[in-house]
Structures are given as C-alpha cells and as structure tokens.
C-alpha cells in the first residue's frame, strides 16, 4: 500500500524534505515507524510520533492508505 509521509519540525531538516510517498508492507504504526527508520537511518535516535486521520497512532494501531504525519516534540517557549 502507498502512504504519503508528511514530516514536521526538526525532522524536515534531518531528512531535507517535508514529504515523500513510500510503498509499505506495514500493517501497524510500530511497523511503519521501523520501516521509516530503515529507510532513513539519520532519523535513528530522534523522538517522533505518527498521526493518521486526526489521531496519534502507535504500537498495534492499524495503518491505512493515505497521509501519515510524522512529528517530533518541540522544546522552545
């Protein structure tokens, strides 16, 4: 299945891109997160979460075709 990953915050600078389309075999959020790390080893060690259909997803939460947002915590205040 195809998903469009949209990166936020510092992740866009680490990857030097804001978005990309990837073909994935992942069925769950955890699987997709580990595929993203395999695809982009420079992301290893960065904290991030995934969101799809207006909900933050993790672990065994299922992935559907479409947009997945990838975002880190922000620190500034």
């Amino acid at each position: 299945m195809e998903v469009q990953l949209i990166y936020h915050g510092k992740l866009t600078e680490v990857l030097k891109r804001a978005t990309e389309s990837v073909h994935t075999e992942a069925l769950t959020a955890a699987d997709l997160a580990s595929e993203v790390l395999t695809l982009h080893p420079t992301l290893v060690g960065n904290t991030f979460q995934l969101a799809q259909n207006n909900t933050i997803i993790s672990g065994h939460d299922p992935i559907a075709e479409g947009i997945v947002d990838v975002f880190p915590p922000f620190s500034g205040g």
């Binding site: 904290t47 979460q49 207006n54 933050i56 915590p73 500034g76 205040g77």
Partner: protein, 353 residues
Amino acid sequence: MNPRYARHISLSEIGLEGQQKLAEAKILVVGAGGLGCAVLQYLTAAGVGTLGIVDFDVVSVSNLQRQVLYTEADVGTPKVLCAIKRLQQMNAEIEFVAHNTDFNVQNAESLCKAYDIVVDASDNFVTRYTLNDACVRLGKPMVFGSLYKFEGQVAVFNYEGGPSYRCLFPKPPKPGEVPNCNDIGVLGVLPGLIGTLQATEVLKMILGLGNVLSGTLLQYDTRTHHQHLWKIQKRPSEIEIVKNRPNIVPVQTQDCILTPTLSLQEMSLEEPIIWVDVREAHELPKITEENVIRLKDTTVSERIKNGTKKVFFCQTGVRSRNATDEHLARGMANCYSLREGAAELQQWLAKNT
C-alpha cells in the same frame, strides 16, 4: 457593573457570572519567556484574579525580539519582577504572586498546589516533565505550549481524567536532540500566537466555554498556516506510574542536568582559573580581575586554552550553564558553570585575593 470588563459581560456566554469566575480563578504560569509574556498579558487583561509567575532568569537583550512584556531598561533584572511591574500597570485589580525561582522536583507540587490551572510556558523538557508529573499527581489541568522555529504545539493535559504529556511522549528526548529557541532561533511572533492559544484554553476552562483542547494536540505552522488537530490516546500505565511514585522523579536525559557546575564554596584560587563572563557589556557588577575574560570579546577563543580550568559565570548561573554546554559540545575541556552569580563572585574575589 465594572465597565472594565463590559465587553466580556455583554457576551451572554460569559455575563457577570462568568466574569466573577475569572476574578476567583488562580492560574500559575511556569516560564515568563515568549509564551509566558503572551499568556500573562491576556489573562491580566481578562481579569483573572490571581496570577502566579515562576521564572529564575533575568531579562537579556536577545529576549526583547519576542518577550513583549520587557523593555530595554529591564535587561539584567529578574523576569518575574519586570513582568509583574508591567502587568500591574495594565490591571491593578489582579493579585500577582512572584516565584523568582527555578521550577524543580522539590518545589513543583507545593508551587502548583495553590492554583486551579497550570500553564506550561517553559522552554525545556526537564521542566515540562516535572510540571506534567506534578499536575498528574495533584489532579490539576496543564495547558501545554511549545515552539520550534516557525511551528508550535498546544494541548490541555490532565483535564477531567484526560491524557497527560507522557501519553503523547512517554520518554523525553535525548540530551541535545531537540534544540530550544535560545539555541536555534524562533520567529518572534510565534510565541505570541501559541501563548494566546494557551490563554484561550485557560479562559475556556474557567468559563466552561466550547470544547477544551483536552487530549488533542494542535500543531500550527506559521509558514503555511496549516493546522492539525491530532487526538492523543490515553496511556493509563504512564499516568499510574507517575501517581504511584513516592516523589516526582526528574527526567535524567537533559543537558542542563549534566552540566558540570561549581559553587564558590568548593573553589580556591590556588589553582589557575580563567573566569569567563558570559553577560552583556553593560551588566553590573563589572568583574575586572586580570584572569576574567568576556565571552563576547572576539579574542576569547585564543585565550581559552584547553588545559586550564574555565569557570563560566553570569548574573544567576543560567546563561553560564548554556555557555558551558556549548563549549563542552565544541570539544573544549575543563569547563564549569558557576552556580552563583556575578555579585557573589565579586564578593568572593574581594575576600580571597
């Protein structure tokens, strides 16, 4: 009717009753930086009865680009005192409580206890996780806001049994992983936007208006005006762990905890020391010993040799900690941050030389 709040009272959704709720509300704002300045001025104008402010830092010139409560004349003065002076001019009816201290695991719960709602306007993860844990343990709502360059995040945590910050990010990032505004810069208007959203959530909770941003992360990008609302799933185990600990446990992974610091009590002048003044040129007292160099001078890097012990100092020990971190990160050895400020150092040098 107090004409000051006429435009609130005319709203049928607020009225006299709502304005009275605002007058009775007690709000704690942790951090009087960019977010804090925006939150504080709107809560003050709105007539929130009691406003506590926690910050340990002094105003520096580089704050003025976004921290709109402060003036050039405030540079070098504690933020909490400057903020209250300015806010009192805006609304003399408000009771302001100054907490001119850092927010830490020792004082977190006692500081939060006296307030109804706590606003996270901090700029680091140690404070944010400590604040989250205090709010979870005390059952207080926490209005979170944070920034990255052009983007901001806002959410309300611990509201009526809703998710906590640890449900969003269970583990804090590693040291240095996520830079803050002081390190990388921030669009000056961004904390104004995000802080105003935080103030909005505070007012909504006090007044029972609309849908509180509970368990929902709002992420906003000034460059595109794209805005996301992501539902945060509750992680009950994260909340239970925090509740069941005997004390709040500080997160260990932040740079500032690892910064080597020295107190004047543990120092002697028998070993050679280079004192590095990280303050702006006009800040007082001036320390003019011959082994004192100013970080802002261009020749510093030639004079700081790797072998000699270097002790960075500022007014309160905050900026010196950042400078120490920066120099250690650049590979310079033997760097320490002085826990005291310039005034104490001046006295100590006078006594020991």
